[in-house]
Homo-oligomer: 281 residues x 2
Amino acid sequence: MKIKRVLNNNTAISVNHSGLDVLLMGAGIAFGKKQGQSVDMDKVEKTFIIKDKDTLNKFTDLVIDVSLPEVMMAEKVINFAKIKLGKKFNEIIYVNLTDHMHNSIKQYKAGIVLKNPLKWDIARFYPDEYEVGQKAIKVASDELNIKFEDDEAAFIALHFVNAEIDGVETSNNLAYNVTKIVKEIEDIVKDYFHTEFDESSLNYYRFITHLKFFAQRLLAGKHYDDDEDQILLDTIKKRYQKAYDCALKIQNFVSEHYQYEISGTELLYLTVHINRLIKNL
Amino acid sequence: MKIKRVLNNNTAISVNHSGLDVLLMGAGIAFGKKQGQSVDMDKVEKTFIIKDKDTLNKFTDLVIDVSLPEVMMAEKVINFAKIKLGKKFNEIIYVNLTDHMHNSIKQYKAGIVLKNPLKWDIARFYPDEYEVGQKAIKVASDELNIKFEDDEAAFIALHFVNAEIDGVETSNNLAYNVTKIVKEIEDIVKDYFHTEFDESSLNYYRFITHLKFFAQRLLAGKHYDDDEDQILLDTIKKRYQKAYDCALKIQNFVSEHYQYEISGTELLYLTVHINRLIKNL
């Protein structure tokens, strides 16, 4: 395999392997090497194949700044997440997580520790991803002797949530904003009914799942078509009066704070989910 | 509102209302009426707005053969499903469910009762949709005095599952075939480990959810890119030996019975899910 490009501090090179660009990393792998020369395969510690060209370019640029142990640490966390969550992520996770952990380490060493005000909400709404974040803290501690706070586990969790959301042009803040909106709406419902919910119940799980998708629609500025039968809406309104009234409060809230107008259809589903949640109170 | 088209046995007409085609139904609504005349609004019992033109055309064709009470029964079931499942369906459900129930009633009256060999699997894998099917049986009994078997509840459940699967060009058999494949693979795992599973556990739920998506990929002939790190695959293979061996059996089965070749990535996720399921045995 011929070297296409020597990347950084002797640890990374880019090669072309059967039409695919591959990133090879290893201590000293690029030492004294030039484009067109052969790779010393004994020195390869890590191979990255990233299919999306744009993502590979971003990752390549990143590797110029980030040390091999940090790249390997991020990859270990991603592998753990695949096994823990049992699914594929958008390849962009390699860029986002590596970059994030690299910066967190830099800031931590400079004495800057960022608080995550939604830490506990992230842990509640995304428990599996939060567990991945905790694993990342452990790996950082074991391998680089960096002692992160739980806040960091929550930030890392959000990167995995973002990488799970398909197809959408995801900003890094998407999962954070979704969490914030879900919490705000949950608070409206709690306040309205003066109650806490059984967070281990299936109806609570469904309620939160519905709110996550609702928040994604809101942030994307997408609306459900307002095509529901007026008779069905009227029936629901009468039958689930209190839940409907609470849904109206949510409608006002998101209109005021997010300039997002909820359709009748959206109101219908909110009412149904709220009703299911409170019917055993 | 002016009549665009008189449809059938005096109960259905099509009108154009602010640029949207609307179907109006009601006993005698079309009696003696011609195109271009006004609608007698007092006779409107049911309004259908279906946005997708192709779906509306199909539904309109259907309404020519189906009686008003049957159309109203199907709509009642769909409204129940919206509330029970808390989500929107593809509009095609109006066509598929109405057509299905209409045909089932015809067959039932002719003494033909179709068995559903996957009845209990549908009830296990899609419990909420199955409950909608049971509601449909009750409505058919209360309103049309038709006494369906549980098999019918399972058929109806599948129509709702199909209407939930977005974006895919869904055949009516999709959910049936998914159920069949999920059950076949579940049986392979049960046989391999000589065990039953705790169907109420979260890991079982995740396992079945993974298999449903796996079966959809299989039926669509889609493959996960085989881009997983060989080292990760080797690690999993060693660490979860029995689960991996069982995943190989699944690989052989689907290759033989469905001519579908599982990628290494797919094998990895199957192994992870199987391992999670069996680790407490």
